[in-house]
């Protein structure tokens, strides 16, 4: 399931009924949240812009890819957009499976590929001014692992 929201969200509420199936033995989750060092230690806020429509489409494709590669009972991706402050959750990825390696690998796959495939852009607000975050080569490397 994919959810894109402009409102703050609480991962534990999103996960309240996640993984409740007697066939599920393993749940892996990843949470990304705004940290103060984004802006060199003086980040005041982060604004995420996205491409409505394409975002949902790309994330749904990633969910399909993950389900094709691993035996997953449930998948949840929640991604925030808009302006958020330090400590707020940007993204939640959760996977549930009968087996631990499927859940763990699929969770890692989804966040790695989300970073390079989902059309989001981060604008950092710092005391020194606002600037757009540059893409990281390490994110391309992480995502490329899954293309082999």
């Amino acid at each position: 399931m994919i959810r894109i929201t402009a409102e703050p969200f609480d991962p534990s509420r999103e996960l309240a009924s996640f993984g409740q199936d007697p066939a599920i033995g393993a749940i892996a989750t990843f949470i990304g949240q705004v940290r103060d060092e984004h802006g060199g230690g003086n980040l005041m806020a982060l604004t995420l812009e996205h491409y409505p429509g394409m975002t949902e489409r790309k994330l749904a494709e990633l969910e399909d890819d993950a389900r094709a590669r691993w035996d997953l009972s449930q998948v949840l991706i929640v991604h925030r957009h808009g302006r958020m402050e330090v400590g707020e959750t940007i993204v939640l990825v959760a996977t549930a499976s009968g087996h631990r390696q499927a859940a763990l690998e699929a969770c890692q796959f989804l966040i790695d590929r989300l970073k390079t495939d989902a059309p989001f852009w981060k604008l950092e607000e710092t005391k020194a001014g606002n600037h757009w975050v540059e893409a990281k080569t390490s994110d391309d490397t992480a995502a490329d692992r899954w293309r082999q």
Binding site: T116, W132, A135
Partner: protein, 83 residues
């Protein structure tokens, strides 16, 4: 064509979208970027380094050699930084 701009492409151009007729001589995404760069200061700045521009046609990523259709939704933006 419907053009969409995101992130610093949007802020440098000063608009998030516009409709244009497919210009004469523009066949590919690369051609379109070169054409737009000549439309004024904001555009020139946004497209000064074409290799940093990513493109999506009808919400799918494409390369700069992708051939455009007159009815395409074309989005131009920097590399993505979500997650």
């Amino acid at each position: 064509m419907k053009l969409l701009y995101f992130a610093w492409v949007r802020t440098q151009i000063g608009k998030s979208h516009e409709e244009i007729a497919k210009p004469e001589g523009v066949e590919t995404v690369g051609d379109l970027i070169a054409h737009l760069a000549g439309r004024g200061a904001g555009y020139a700045s946004a497209f000064a380094r074409p290799q940093t521009i990513r493109a999506a046609i009808n919400q799918d990523y494409v390369q700069h050699d992708h051939v455009l259709a007159a009815t395409d939704e074309v989005a131009l933006f920097p590399p993505v930084t979500g997650g």
